[in-house]
Symmetry: C2
Subunit: 103 residues, 2 copies
């Protein structure tokens, strides 16, 4: 489940969120978005965990591939629903992964 990403550099989107108490349909949509993302051009991998705070990190080949994913039509509807219903607050950080190592 640790994403197998290529040699650096590549890009990461860190999505950190706090949910509201109204999470009907959330899991279904979240799973659907992961499936959609995996089929996007430039997608490299995704990692996700949630306790009180949720953190999802997706990895991408380029800033262009991140932009295309942000503007994907079904994803845009999910983003709107997220703001209206599921998320109390969130933060998105677009990053260039400069170096990595593993154990």
């Amino acid at each position: 489940m640790i994403a197998k990403t290529p040699k650096t550099p590549y890009y990461a989107v860190i999505f950190t969120s706090k949910m509201t108490d109204f999470n009907k349909d959330y899991d279904k949509t979240a799973n659907r978005m992961v499936e959609l993302a995996k089929n996007q051009k430039g997608f490299l991998g995704i990692e996700s965990a949630r306790n009180d705070l949720g953190i999802t990190v997706s990895y991408w080949e380029s800033l262009e591939s991140i932009k295309s994913w942000k503007n994907e039509s079904e994803h845009k509807l999910a983003q709107q629903k997220g703001k209206e219903t599921w998320y109390a607050s969130f933060k998105v950080r677009i990053c260039k992964v400069e170096r990595d190592y593993e154990f």
Copy 2:
């Protein structure tokens, strides 16, 4: 709990991990490392979540501050203990946060 980070650019360390079943003393050490990190020069914030996978993202002013934290003596002991005992595998990614936005 979403980290209040300054204007971009700044740096992020994404630490993704899978644990072994032997987690004695882990929480105590993990909490101690967060306290230590908060007192490091250049520390900006930290976010953490764990299910099957654990994701901790720490934010830093510069690559130099990340390097200093990596080499902090008590932290180095904890890293060693992590490899010997707590982590089945992990990946560390050093990133430059180029852009962010929030809701």
